[in-house]
Each structure stands twice: as structure tokens, then as C-alpha cells.
Amino acid sequence: MTIENKKGWISWFNPFKYGSDRWMFALHRLTGIVLGLYLIAHVWETSNILNGQVTWNKIMVDLDYPFGVHFGPYILSLVLVAAVYHAFNGIRLTIVENGLMLPRPYRPEYPYKAKSLSGLNNVLKIVLGIFMIAVSAIGIIYIFTGVII
């Protein structure tokens, strides 16, 4: 049986009119796809270590200066932020989707506000959000300056 997917994939990236969880879902998908494609490129890129010093260093430089601009740190920062977001939101999903930190089941009553979208889940979002910003900042500072905090 085929189930119609009326709005299609475009609806994943339309978190407007919905709550913060929907935004997080959209970003989780987006970062997941980007990181997945990055993994494939990264496996290819690192396999060049077997091709000797000249090839490896040339590829490192070409990836760092793709258009004659020192671009590598920006790409790496984006990958880092995507990975950190995906990781911390993934921790939250592992907790929440397994039924932890959610309210007890209750009878749905008008106006049907989901209790699962408030309370501990929100605290978790804020705590993990703070960690996320801290880890991203440490990473970006290292990528650009080489300074390890």
C-alpha cells in the first residue's frame, strides 16, 4: 500500500508556524544530510594519505584555498557547528524519544497543548544549548587561531 506523502520533503524544512521542536527537527535533518555527504568526501580526502607527501599536502592546500581565499577554516567551522548541533540534539532525542524526562500520560483536553513540549524537555534544550555554544566556540577558536582553551 502506498501512503501519500502530500507535502513531500519540502515540509521538513518549513518549521514556520510550529514550535521549537520542529525547528530542531528541520536542523537535525539538514545537518544530518550535510554531515553524511561530508563523511563520503572525508573518506575520499583522507585516503590520499596513501598517495605520498606531495599529493597530500597539495590536497590540504587546495581544500584550504579553494578560490585563492583562505576558506578552509570557514568550511571546518561549519562542519564543526553542524556536528556539535547534531550531537547535542541527538542526545536530547535519545533521552526524549525513549520516554525519559517526559510527563506522565494524561487525558487530552482542550486546547490540546502538548505537555511533552514543555517542562523538563525545555530545560534539557537550554542546558544542551549552552553546552553546544561552548563546545562550538572552543572548536572555532582552535580552528582559526590554534589556541586551545
Binding site: T2, T46, S47, N57, V61, A83, G90, T94, I143
Partner: protein, 133 residues
């Protein structure tokens, strides 16, 4: 495998990637064998784009690939990542293209694609450990 088992593994590999991925990030910073803990060092100030050092310099990356511990970390990380990424792609594609036959096709195609990435990465790790640079 049942879908619930597949998703359980998705969560587990996710957590394992978190652990091993952290090692990977430490490797190109604090734990790098490079004496200067910075990604790139170029020659001269107005660099003619000649890499002369940094944690991504050939010598240090080669040293990492020659180490049995790091080789094992890479291999495990690769295994978890390939499962997590390609199962993630499968879930996404199954939602875009619904239907039993489509899902089977997606599963087979992504399985083969994942296997290729896994073999390609394993090849790097194994040859690197064998000293075949």
C-alpha cells in the same frame, strides 16, 4: 532486522560516534603528534600556499595512520558512522519515496553505497597500518 532494532542501533551508534568523534577532534588538536597545535602552517607571511607544518601536515597525519591505537579508533568510528549515516539516509529517502518496493530498492542501494564507503575507508586504515605509504 526489525525496524525497532535498526533504530536502537541508530541511537547506540550515535552515542558511540559522540565518544569516538570527540577523540577524532582531540586528535587534530591537543593529541596531535605535531609540535605546533595548529591546523595549517604556511611558509612565509604572504604565503605562497606551501604547507610546512601543522596538525594536517603529511608527516603528522602519517604518524597517526601508522599508530595501531588511532587506526583502531578510526576503524571503529568509520563503522559506526557508515551505519548511522546510511541508515539516516535510508530513513529520509523512505519518507520521500513511500512504498514497499521503493523501500527495498533504497535499502539495497544504500547498503551497497555504505559498503563502498566502508571498504574505501578501511583500505586507508589497513594499508596505513601496514606501512604502505
Amino acid at each position: 532486522m526489525r525496524e525497532s532494532q535498526i533504530m536502537f542501533l541508530q541511537y547506540m551508534t550515535g552515542l558511540l560516534i559522540l565518544v569516538f568523534g570527540s577523540f577524532h577532534f582531540l586528535l587534530i588538536s591537543v593529541l596531535s603528534p605535531s609540535p605546533q597545535k595548529v591546523l595549517y602552517i604556511y611558509s612565509g607571511i604572504n604565503a605562497s600556499h606551501i604547507l610546512v607544518g601543522g596538525t594536517l601536515y603529511y608527516t603528522w597525519v602519517k604518524a597517526v595512520y601508522s599508530s595501531l591505537i588511532w587506526g583502531s579508533v578510526f576503524e571503529l568510528l568509520l563503522t559506526f558512522l557508515v551505519y548511522h549515516v546510511f541508515n539516516g539516509f535510508r530513513v529520509i529517502l523512505s519518507e520521500i519515496i513511500p512504498g514497499g518496493r521503493a523501500e527495498k530498492a533504497i535499502t539495497y542501494i544504500l547498503f551497497i553505497a555504505g559498503l563502498i564507503v566502508f571498504i574505501w575507508g578501511t583500505r586507508t586504515v589497513v594499508i596505513g597500518l601496514g606501512g604502505g605509504f
